[in-house]
């Protein structure tokens, strides 16, 4: 198999799709933030296989680092369960 990087790309994209769907449908807001961080990790492998290191560095810092910190800060000011 010369094309092992395509297998990794396919699996990481499918897992990223599953995490993003679960992040929308979740009621507990803190768990949805963790699903969003997991989706960021999966997309960062995809950027790596597509050979874009500059996009990868910026994406890791924003989607895992700053985005989850900002959302946890906002959730600490309001309530934790989503009221539909």
């Amino acid at each position: 198999m010369i094309f092992i990087h395509l297998v990794i790309l396919a699996i990481s994209m499918i897992l990223g799709f599953v995490f993003s769907y679960l992040a929308i449908m979740e009621e507990d807001l803190l768990k949805a933030v963790i699903y969003s961080a997991g989706q960021g990790v999966m997309f960062s492998i995809a950027f790596y296989i597509l050979m874009a290191p500059d996009v990868l560095l910026a994406y890791i810092a924003i989607a895992i680092g700053i985005y989850t910190a900002l959302l946890v800060f906002v959730i600490s000011k309001t309530e934790r369960k989503e009221v539909v």
Binding site: F19, L30, I34, A37, P53, I60, T68, V72
Partner: protein
């Protein structure tokens, strides 16, 4: 055997173990009854992904791709600290 075939064979043997570990960590993120289990699984997933990235950089023969391993490890560490501070003090002062 020459060096390139040896490198390819090492990668072929180690590759399914890493992929199986990534899928099992993802199952624990979805399934965890509390938040702490999910955060622990994201943390372990990021560290093992950083190790896998450094191994693949040898296969792709590029020096710039290996810099993202350090970045992934350090930001995953900060994610743990945010959530620990949220649960201890009920407020995250950034």
């Amino acid at each position: 055997m020459n060096a390139e075939n040896l490198l390819f064979m090492i990668l072929m043997i180690a590759f399914p173990f890493y992929l199986a570990a990534f899928v099992l960590y993802s199952i624990r993120i979805v399934k965890g009854p509390t938040i702490f289990d999910s955060v622990l699984a994201v943390d372990c997933l990021s560290f093992d992904l950083a190790a896998f990235i450094a191994i693949l950089a040898i296969y792709f023969r590029s020096a710039f791709l290996a810099t993202s391993a350090i970045i992934l490890a350090l930001w995953a560490f900060l994610l743990d600290l945010y959530l620990a501070k949220y649960f201890l003090k009920r407020e995250v002062g950034i």
